[in-house]
Amino acid sequence: MAAKNIFISGVGGQGTILAGKVITTVLVNLGYDVKMSEVHEMAQRGGSVITQIRYGDKVYSPLIEKGKADVLLAFEKLEAVRYVEYLAPKGILIVNDLEMSPASVLIGKEEYPADIVERLKEKIENTIVVDAVGIAKECGEIRSQNMVLVGVLAKVMGWPKDALISVIRDVVPEKYVDVNIMAFERGWDMGVI
């Protein structure tokens, strides 16, 4: 199998790292060759963060090339646009319908681009918009937004559901396992293009 590429973007503190961990653990368990690269700049929170995951029979580069991501999984709208050039022409965009303003916008120096979701949908045929925060809240824990998004991704990629659930059980603290699995299942149901 030729390598598949999953590009995850988000904002520091959103749980992208745990999402990457769940996904790659599943892929390694499934017997794939897997590589993952993460950049989380300095300790401070609130910066842009990305995780790149590649898997297949044999993977060389840990970095995804521009225009080659099969999926761009964006935990925030602006971070979807920022990395959209990584998406393959027929790639799938999964975008969290969440607006987190960077500092320059918060203090009124720059503007948060309007209509991001509409414009993304217009340009990218395969776009799935997810209100992961809303769903996570319904599940009882806002921080499980990452598992909602992992659920959508897993369904889209056709990964075995049981494999994911068992890994979530392993890596999430005991107390939060049920909420996270519920969040994952809700995401799974949305993974249709």
């Binding site: 950049v39 300790a43 401070q44 646009v81 320059s104 203090i107």
Partner: protein, 584 residues
Amino acid sequence: MKKAFLTGNEAIARGAYEFGVSFASAYPGTPSTEILENIAKYPEIYAEWAPNEKVALEAAAGASMAGARAIVSMKHVGLNVAADPLFTLAYTGVNGGLIIVTADDPGMHSSQNEQDNRNFAPFAKIPMLEPSDSQESKDLIGEALKISEMFDTPVLFRTTTRVSHSRSVVLLGERSSFGMKPYFKNPGKFAMIPGFARKRRINLKERLKALEDFSEQFPYNKVEWGKNSEIGIITSGISYQYVKEVFGDEVSVLKLTMTFPLPKKLIAAFAEKVKELYVVEELDPYLENQIRAMGFKVRGKELIPEIGELTPEILREKLKGEKQNNNFGLFAQLPSRPPVLCPGCPHRGVFYVLKKMKAVVTSDIGCYSLGVLPPLESIDSILCMGASISMGHGFKKAFEVNGEDVTVITVIGDSTFLHSGITSLMDAVYNRSNTINIIVDNSITAMTGHQHHPGTGYNAKGEPAPAVSLEAICRAIGVEKVVVVDSYDLKAVEDAVKEAMKYRNGPSVIIARRACALLKGKGPKGIYAVNKEKCRKCKICLRLGCPAIQVKGDGLFISPLSCVGCAVCAQVCPFGAIEKAGDD
């Protein structure tokens, strides 16, 4: 065999475990930090944070001479600090195997410069290995220790961000016991006075010759013939992965792992078999220059940039002429999202105060370096760790010589002060510098992810440890005026600075103390909110740059999700409009 999915750094730590390392020392620095953090998890290995890289290397050198297998790790600039012991260690050689890991940061993800530490190997005359993924990171630790002991030399182990911080599958082994080698007193080898060093210098030359022969046979230096032997590419480290990614087996590849000394015969044989020879490497033309000096026509940096990180798409574009550019015609300009000081960061208020002073502010490296950016913008210079105090001293003296009375304030973190600020402060004391030196003491090495240091009261394994006192050090080296203030108390900070400005009897020290807001259980408590009735929308609070304070519509708003209740904004609001709104 058990499989694990490890970063390069975790794999290096695993290698240290499996191949019998029993002593590890390091000073944190991206992208090397997690090596020691992971080694510290193995009870079989003694692991410590040293106050700086020079100390770390010297400690590891001692352990190696005593007969232990030892490893020391640092970021690229850390090796500059450790360069002094390094160059002479090449003369003494080792007893137990000794590895020096240097993790370079092409592209400066989290560094003040970009340097190619491969150059250190020929300069210091020690062998060098470069892993290209996590499996190699682990396995080559074993090879490096063997080489170190076989040839009586320290070994440079060079990674880059994408090796250190990328994960790939690793097959795990068990820990083998190598035991301690016996120690015999041998000053002719270990005590480098000129008479002994001259002999060791000759030994070093012979050693390098033997290592050159070894490099020819080293199985990790290998040719992968492709479908096409017209085009040959010589590469090493992460660049190898990019070459394979872009070319697969279309071309022939000479993958070098021991990149000093180079296997010249292997390179020559490869070069002679191919029609066109390329070198693909990140940063400096390190391999290219040596191959060219061997007399081969080779193309490298004329095509591949020597600045910044290499990526597979750069290779595709420069060597294959394929360019991928598709932003789907979306927004051309986007607001950037740089890292910012956290809500409640204790450094924020200090810089807010400094911005109001007419002073030259020489700063240092750490989270507080962000005080250089808007809206705080109160820093004049940042150079290297420890430089704040000594540069401030130089500024002050130069102004004085010219008859100018300029206030010079230096800002340094607690970890950085212990790393290399103490000797700088001694210089200011000894040479009577009227500088004001602020130690922003958040009681941790925050920037690199919260590591302990000699002042925190805990060691690398998380056990309680003696804590050195910053104020006692300052007094002991002769600073007469040392005051401690709460970083959250803006008035106290401001008063201390103004008071220090009047003091003309040598350097003064202000220790602005408050734990990093991210430290569990040590952060502030409560939530603040803007009282709409009292707020006159002057926006002075925005000058703090706290990400919790936001403009909403035409008013101001504090996000209860982000605010941690440090109360600094409440102190800057001239109308008392920011009030405590909760305890949690």
